[in-house]
């Protein structure tokens, strides 16, 4: 335990834990016959498939390769045959479909024979070698944001502090808690590997102070292997203490400037699940093909934590949790504060699926919201010191510039303001609306600017063409006035025809060059 002083972040809420028993061994859902693996399970570009329909793959084989600097590899979660590469519904707030690789499992679940070898001497390897391993294994932030881990590790300077985030502050979710209790060793070694990869001076594993079992397990892991040092810090359990910025503030008292990343102030945050995945990638050579998912909520018979393969349909997890209760009404991916509802349970588990929450009838009141009475409870709860009541007025009045000026984009959508509102105003909905309206406004502004530029260049081109035509006409007149031209009418005619053909060709060329631009310019 570290005795370093802790700091306070503004606002926050004390929320009921409602976590499931994390002591029992992780349940393993039965391998499904068909797995649907989305090509984009992270922030950034979707991966490019490297297998064809009909290919036979083993667990751990590369299915799709990272494209662009921000992206992640996707691997086969079990052995089987690729039966389709097509658009499938994916778990996303938009409810849209996205390209997926569909795998028919052969039931043998064979590991690939061409996995990279275990890297036992990782401490002697250059940091770049570890980063390459992390990148090859397709690891993304497993806390829910899904930022590619290797992109986060690509830092130019030594970092002062690496934080391994085990602060799972949303109610219901306990996948990180289960991981800390059951695989503390993996987290600790993974933390050391990450620290080596970014040359961090100090490594802290942070967790909530009421997670005693997890604390004991981590302490035990540190006792068995104390070097190199990893600090363990218990932070007060208060939502959203596990938010990256809030956690940095709690541990160091420093704020990440708006619009900047933690690495800009020499810090890096990685989830405990990510650390464990890094351990498996480096020490065992295993790419990321499974994750721990909390399957919970009052709408389920026996909530639990499961270790699920990526691509497993949610109903397999629901079955592990004993199936639905009568009152199940909402299927939520993520926690009760920031999760989004899903239309049905045929959607697959992805790398960022930390929790499947099934709740009874929405606890939000059915009746319409009352007017805002400016009580300020929302401002008290806001962890970013915003004035949600002001933002709400501006969003409602569509005064988007004012909303932006009042820090709309500093809102992390943690949802702390909404449950304390006595008027039951869906504040976060208003902020999401205002943000997307501002983004589309910005997009439209850029498009208008583009259209303006195209219009101007078209005007210039037309003027130039007219001028050229004028010159040609004058040239022709001059040629006709030449004395020699009149003596041979056949030659003159021939010359005129040649001239016409040349003009036509020129015109055609000009049109084909301008065509698409003109077309776009009108959009």
């Amino acid at each position: 335990m570290s005795a370093a002083p802790l700091f306070d972040f503004p606002g926050g809420l004390m929320l009921p834990g409602r976590k499931v028993e994390t002591g029992e061994p992780l349940r393993q859902p039965e391998l499904p016959e068909e797995l649907v693996i989305p090509l984009k399970q992270h922030q950034g570009e979707a991966a490019e498939p490297v297998v064809a329909v009909g290919a036979t793959v083993c667990r751990g084989d590369l299915l799709a390769q990272q494209s662009g600097t921000l992206g992640a590899n996707v691997h086969a979660p079990t052995s089987g045959a690729v039966i389709a590469i097509e658009q499938r519904p994916v778990p996303h707030p938009s409810g849209l479909s996205a390209p997926c690789i569909v795998l028919r499992a052969d039931g043998e679940d064979r590991w690939s024979t061409c996995l990279p070898p275990p890297l036992h001497d990782w401490a002697d390897q250059p940091p770049a070698a570890l980063r390459e391993r992390v990148q090859a294994a397709g690891i993304v932030g497993l806390g829910g944001a899904g930022f590619p881990a290797s992109a986060k590790l690509a830092v130019s300077e030594k970092l002062a502090l690496l934080i391994i985030n085990g602060v799972e502050c949303e109610p219901y979710i306990s996948c990180d808690q289960a991981l800390m209790e059951q695989r503390a060793q993996e987290i600790v070694v993974g933390a050391r590997m990450l620290a080596h990869a970014v040359q961090a001076e100090r490594v802290v594993v942070a967790l909530e102070d009421d997670k005693l079992q997890a604390m004991a397990a981590l302490q035990n892991a540190l006792r068995i292997a104390p070097e190199p040092p990893v600090e363990l810090v218990a932070v007060p359990a208060r939502y959203p203490a596990g938010g990256e910025r809030q956690l940095i503030r709690t541990l160091t008292g420093r704020e990440v400037p708006t619009g900047a990343h933690p690495t800009d102030i020499g810090m890096l945050c990685q989830n405990v699940g990510t650390a464990a995945a890094v351990y498996r990638a480096i020490a065992l050579g295993e790419p990321l093909t499974s994750r721990i998912v909390t399957v919970t909520g009052e709408g389920l018979v026996s909530p639990c934590n499961v270790e699920a393969r990526i691509g497993t349909p949610l109903q397999a997890l629901i079955t592990q949790a004993g199936g639905y209760r009568e009152q199940a009404r909402h299927l939520i991916m993520g926690g009760p504060m920031m999760g989004f509802t899903l239309p049905d349970d045929s959607l697959p588990v992805t790398k960022t699926s930390n929790c499947i929450l099934v709740l009874p009838e929405s606890p939000q009141p059915r009746e319409a919201a009352m007017p805002c009475i400016r009580c300020g409870y929302c401002a008290e709860a806001c962890p970013v010191s915003l004035l949600p009541q002001q933002l709400y007025w501006y969003a409602r009045a569509r005064d988007l510039d004012q909303a932006e000026g009042h820090g709309l984009f500093d809102c992390i959508e943690c949802g702390a303001c909404a449950p304390v509102c006595p008027s039951h105003i869906p504040l976060v909905d208003y902020f999401r609306y205002a943000k997307s309206a501002l983004r589309s406004q910005e997009r439209e502004r850029r498009q208008a600017e583009l259209a303006r530029q195209r219009y101007l260049s078209r005007q210039q081109r037309l003027a130039r063409q007219q001028e050229e035509q004028q010159q040609r006409r004058e040239r022709k007149k001059a040629a006709l006035r030449k004395p020699g031209a009149a003596e041979d009418p056949a030659a003159a005619k021939q010359a005129a025809i040649q001239e016409a053909i040349r003009r036509a060709r020129e015109k055609k060329q000009a049109r084909s060059g301008a065509g698409p631009e003109d077309g776009d310019g009108r959009t």
Binding site: F9, R245, E255, V256, P257, T258, A260, I318, Y324, A328, R329, H330, I332, G334, P336, M337, M338, G339, F340, T341, L342, P343, D344, D345, L357, L359, S362, P363, Q364, P365, E367, M370, P371, C372, I373, R374, C375, G376, A379, E380, P383, V384, S385, L386, L387, Q389, Q390, G407, D410, G415, A418, P419, V420, C421, P422, S423, H424, P426, V428, R432
Partner: protein, 349 residues
């Protein structure tokens, strides 16, 4: 079991922790000790005022909601009209004619609230709008405070309220007496010094006789509201400091001409205003720092009006004046957003 059909919803998926009518009801509960104190001191008139005001408020609210085409049931259940009526009733002298609370409530709710758009949209505190209208329009009625502990019985009280006369034919004037604030103000103006006045019957143990206990009871209710986190500490602390600090300075400067701070803190409607009136969230400033300034402004203005103004107690006008300033205060006291530089200078972090 077959998969149910799932319904969409938006995050957060947590039940709300409060509702408006619960908050308003708590304000009413917190008013009970102070109200009982007033009943003990001034008799039935206090309860008659409350009954008249609440009845008028509910009727007025229902009519206005109907006229504005709003759901009458839902908004009547928010208890805001009741809170407004009770606050106004507690400001009125007991045993004033029946139409005084009625006119006050109607003015407060119609002019002060519904004409601006109803709950949440009123820039002024409706109870204080009603009170100010009464104070300016019927100064005679508003000065009829009873002699403490000498109030008539229920029947007598009802008769006084409805007819302005007792069965003996005696008018209400016979029972009334200036409040301590009023008394001190007139006597000081007449050339007496406070050391001479403080031995008189108008003074109790701490401040004005009787009124000190009422204020302490309202303080107790206010502290309960603070503990239940219905109100924040900034506005009450601001009001009390805004009143006490100038009072202390002037009292140190000339204790014969200026009353002790405790006389101000426990006199008139100080505690009622500090914890129940000024804390009306709709018309107050909303930023934490702004609320402190807003409260302090009320306290200072109230002291100025009490000491040099034309009215014995200036809290109502102080509240209304600061209501006007609330948007400006909010504008200049926006909290620093996490991760943003402090003002013009760069954040040290």
């Amino acid at each position: 079991m077959t998969a149910p059909r799932f319904q969409p919803a938006s995050a957060p998926h947590m039940p709300p922790a409060h509702n408006v009518s619960e908050l308003m009801r708590r304000v009413v509960y917190a008013l009970v000790p102070g109200t009982l104190g007033m009943v003990w001191l001034f008799g039935w008139g206090v309860l008659i005022n409350i009954a008249l005001a609440v009845t008028a408020a509910l009727a007025c609210e229902a009519v206005m909601l109907r006229l504005r085409g709003r759901p009458v049931q839902r908004f009547l259940r928010d208890w805001s009209a009741v809170v407004c009526a009770v606050l106004l009733a507690l400001c009125l002298p007991p045993l004033v004619s029946w139409w005084v609370p009625v006119v006050g409530v109607v003015c407060g709710l119609v002019l002060g609230k519904h004409l601006y758009g109803g709950l949440g949209y009123n820039p002024f505190n409706p109870a204080m709008v009603g009170y100010a209208v009464l104070l300016v329009s019927f100064p005679g009625q508003m000065a009829l405070w009873l002699d403490p502990m000498s109030s008539p019985g229920l029947l007598q009280s009802l008769q006084l309220v409805t007819t302005g006369q007792q069965t003996s034919g005696e008018a209400l004037d016979a029972l009334t007496r200036a409040t301590p604030l009023d008394h001190v103000k007139t006597e000081l103006a007449a050339g007496w010094s406070l050391s001479e006045l403080s031995t008189g019957p108008v003074f109790g143990m701490l401040a004005g006789a009787g009124w000190e206990w009422i204020n302490l009871l309202f303080l107790a209710g206010g502290i309960w509201l603070l503990r239940r986190r219905v109100i924040g500490w900034q506005i009450p602390v601001g009001v009390l400091l805004g009143l006490a600090v100038p009072a202390l300075l002037f009292w140190l400067f000339n204790p014969d001409q200026f009353a002790v701070p405790l006389f101000h803190l426990l006199g008139g409607g100080t505690m009622l205003a500090a914890f129940f009136v000024a804390t009306d969230p709709v018309s107050a400033a909303t930023t934490p720092r702004g609320r402190l300034y807003y409260g302090a402004g009320i306290g200072i203005l109230a002291y100025v009006i009490r000491t040099w103004g034309g009215y014995p107690d200036g809290l109502a006008f102080a509240v209304l004046l600061m209501n006007m300033a609330a948007p400006l205060i909010d504008h200049y006291t926006r909290p620093r957003i996490e991760g943003h530089a402090r003002g013009r200078e760069q954040d040290g972090d």
